[in-house]
């Protein structure tokens, strides 16, 4: 079954076609098709997993490919490669996709283009699965772009709203800047090694087919693609705006799966990054800057989804830092746990939005604990998992990252990532306290607030359970009992499997970070009151404004586009108008016309004149032939 894992992607792809063609006319606009598809993919994943584990590590990675085309001596094969990283990604995608499909039935009820929403959701799942299954960079790139397309379509689902259109466009264009880098990187790799196949590229690079400087440049281009998709600074600007999309989409695409495609790409190609000089250090720096920057910005956001969006950016930074330390297992483990609790938090936010009839500003909420107990409880679990409370999922994965950084990156990076951890705890608890505790800020909203139905709360509960237990996968005993070769570090690794041992010193330190951040938030926003926070903001208005305006990144980009891009466009447009159009196109037409105006006088209409011209021409040609050919 593992060699037929392509079926995972084929099923939702088929569902996409079916829903696009008939969804509008099906009963309930075909939402049951989407849910059944997601359930089938979820079940298929377990078949693949069982088969994969049954084959044993000697058979990994499981390969299956067909000849796509052959041009001369160049043969292009397309296919799948299932290894441990792929399995982790499949687990995340199929689980979260299933939950989101179920949740969407409740969330999207009565929304415009209900069937189209589910159709595109299937397209996204199909392309995302194809992305992680691909055994070559070309197929990966194709899936990468289709993922971007479905993200664009879903962000812009409410295209009657101008802000949604702008956000969709921004996401598409911003990631495209990185994608061009990825494409250049893929072409450079192909040029150097003659193949798109990832394993073949590894072998070629190991054999020294690419010089170190060239490899470094190539990997920087590929890193650009990863940064664009994973919203790393300075490409992060699209992700917070992408919150214009329906909230379940934010949970699936902009928290759990698509945005980690960049992390996946880096993890997948980590052997190449390792061989490429200082590339790992660059990844660490990018991740660190992103983690700190967006953690700080999350302090001053007031929209629930915006806080979660910046939190996602920040956690993606954590993953990059772990990968930059050279540890696939730490990065992938955080990806794995983060997917569950962040999907939970986003779906929780979706539940709040539905429960309060479309209110998501923290300033208007507060005190939802009593009105929405299930949502609040699951949201609390998600928040604590994200903040890193022992022994929830986020604690273990954050611990792994701290461990990796401590061992491979030295004290300064360790210190900074610790600061970022405190920030995580702070903004997460701030979000929870302000939304669910204290007194309602707006009685009119609070009086209409109801807990959402089972179709929305059940996915929350399921994900909450996963957020509690997913972290335990790190233990050797747990992995062993489930049939894996051991804990996460023994399953997903680059060079050597590593048995996990609890480092109580580090665990204590990590808990101290959590306590520090959480209590700071609790003290500042005790009982959902804002007086201390307002005093803090007024004490340093400039700093507060800087955070609230997200370090002026959007303004900076706007200015850049206005000055540089539009300025350049003006020059190009001038060249087009005057040089190409007026001189080239219109010029040649005018010249032909003027030539005709002059030459028309030769056209006398008299037959003898023409006959004379012909005779003279023949004589002239004969004389020339005699003179030249003579």
């Amino acid at each position: 079954m593992a060699e037929h894992a392509w079926m995972l992607a084929a099923v939702p792809a088929f569902a996409f076609v079916a829903l696009t063609a008939t969804g509008r006319h099906l009963p309930r606009q075909g939402d049951f098709v989407a849910v059944l598809t997601a359930a089938a993919v979820f079940a298929l994943f377990f078949a693949v997993l069982a088969s994969f584990l049954g084959l044993g590590d000697a058979a990994w990675p499981v390969l299956n490919s067909i000849e796509w085309t052959a041009i001369g001596s160049f043969e292009l094969r397309m296919g799948i490669a299932v290894d441990q990283i792929t399995i982790v990604m499949l687990a995340v995608i199929t689980t979260v996709a299933f939950m989101v499909n179920v949740f969407s039935v409740g969330y999207m009820k009565g929304e415009p283009r209900y069937w189209w929403y589910f159709a595109v959701l299937q397209l996204f799942v199909a392309s995302m699965l194809m992305l992680v299954l691909a055994d070559n960079l070309l197929l990966l790139y194709i899936a990468w772009e289709v993922v971007g397309l479905s993200s664009f379509l879903l962000i812009g689902h409410y295209w009657e709203r101008r802000s949604a259109v702008e956000a969709a466009k921004k996401a598409f264009v911003t990631t495209r800047v990185g994608d061009v880098g990825l494409l250049i990187g893929i072409i450079l790799l192909w040029d150097a090694t003659g193949t798109f196949n990832i394993l073949d590229i590894f072998h070629a690079v190991e054999a020294g087919a690419v010089g170190e400087t060239r490899l470094f440049v190539t990997m920087m281009f590929i890193l650009l693609g990863a940064m664009g998709k994973s919203a790393q600074v300075p490409f992060h600007v699209w992700l917070p705006d992408a919150m214009e999309g329906p909230t379940p989409v934010s949970a699936l695409i902009h928290a759990a799966t698509m945005v980690v495609a960049g992390v996946y790409l880096v993890a997948r190609l980590l052997p190449l990054f390792e061989s490429a000089g200082g590339a790992l250090m660059v990844i660490t720096i990018v991740g660190l800057v992103t983690a700190l920057f967006s953690g700080a910005v999350a302090f001053a956001q007031t929209d629930i989804k915006k806080v979660l969006a910046y939190s996602t950016v920040s956690q993606l930074g954590f993953m990059f830092v772990a990968l930059g330390a050279g540890l696939v297992s730490a990065g992938m483990f955080h990806l794995f746990t983060h997917a569950f609790f962040k999907a939970l938090l986003f779906l929780g936010a979706g539940s709040v939005i539905i429960g309060t009839h479309h209110h998501q500003e923290m300033g208007q909420l507060g005190g939802l604990w009593r009105k929405m107990p299930v949502t609040a409880a699951t949201f609390l679990i998600g928040s604590l998992a994200l903040a890193g409370l022992f022994p929830l999922a986020g604690f273990w994965s954050k611990d792994e990252i701290l461990h990796a950084v401590d061992a491979h990156r030295g004290a300064l990076v360790f210190l900074l990532i610790s600061v970022a951890s405190i920030m995580t705890a702070f903004y997460t608890m701030r979000l929870f306290v302000r939304t669910f505790l204290g007194k309602p800020q707006d009685e009119a909203i609070a009086s209409h607030t109801r807990e959402t139905g089972a179709i929305m709360t059940l996915p929350l509960v399921f994900l909450a359970i996963l957020s509690v237990i997913a972290g335990l996968a790190v233990f050797h005993e747990v992995g062993d009992a489930l049939g894996f070769p051991g804990g996460f570090g023994e399953f997903v690794y680059l060079h050597h499997p590593e048995v996990f041992h609890v480092d109580w010193g580090l665990a204590g330190f990590s808990t101290a970070l959590f306590v520090l951040g959480a209590f700071a938030a609790g003290w500042l926003y005790r009982g959902g009151r804002l007086d201390r926070a307002t005093a803090l903001a007024e004490w340093q208005p400039r700093l507060y404004e800087l955070l609230r305006r997200k370090f002026y990144f959007d303004e900076l980009y706007q200015a850049l586009i206005d000055r540089v891009v539009l300025g350049f466009s003006y020059v190009v447009s001038w060249f087009d108008r005057f040089a190409v159009n007026d001189t080239g196109v219109d010029g040649s037409a005018a010249m032909t016309g003027y030539a005709g105006f002059l030459l028309k006088h030769l056209q006398t209409g008299r037959v003898p004149n023409y006959a004379l011209a012909i005779a003279a021409g023949v004589v002239a040609l004969t004389l020339i032939t005699l003179a030249v050919g003579g």
Partner: protein, 102 residues
Amino acid sequence: MVPLENYLVLSGILFSLGVYGVLARRNAVLVLMSVELMLNAVSLNFVAFAVYLDPGRATGIVFAVFVIAVAAAEVGLALAIVIRLFRNRSTANVDEAATMRW
């Protein structure tokens, strides 16, 4: 046997007469006849060369037959035009049929 040069000279004379006729005559029918004269000069050349230079094969002679056939078709077309011209203008003078100009 008559030498080849004689045929060529005769052909040259015929061709020159034809050219003169086309350029100097004003009557459309006479112009057409002059064109025929030129074509016959060419046919004569073909046949003469065929017989003298390549006696085994009939290539040049076949060409002459083609020229005659094409000339017949051309005369048929041209006479039809001349008849239309005469019907419309009551003249066959080529100088007066000079309206096809800018």
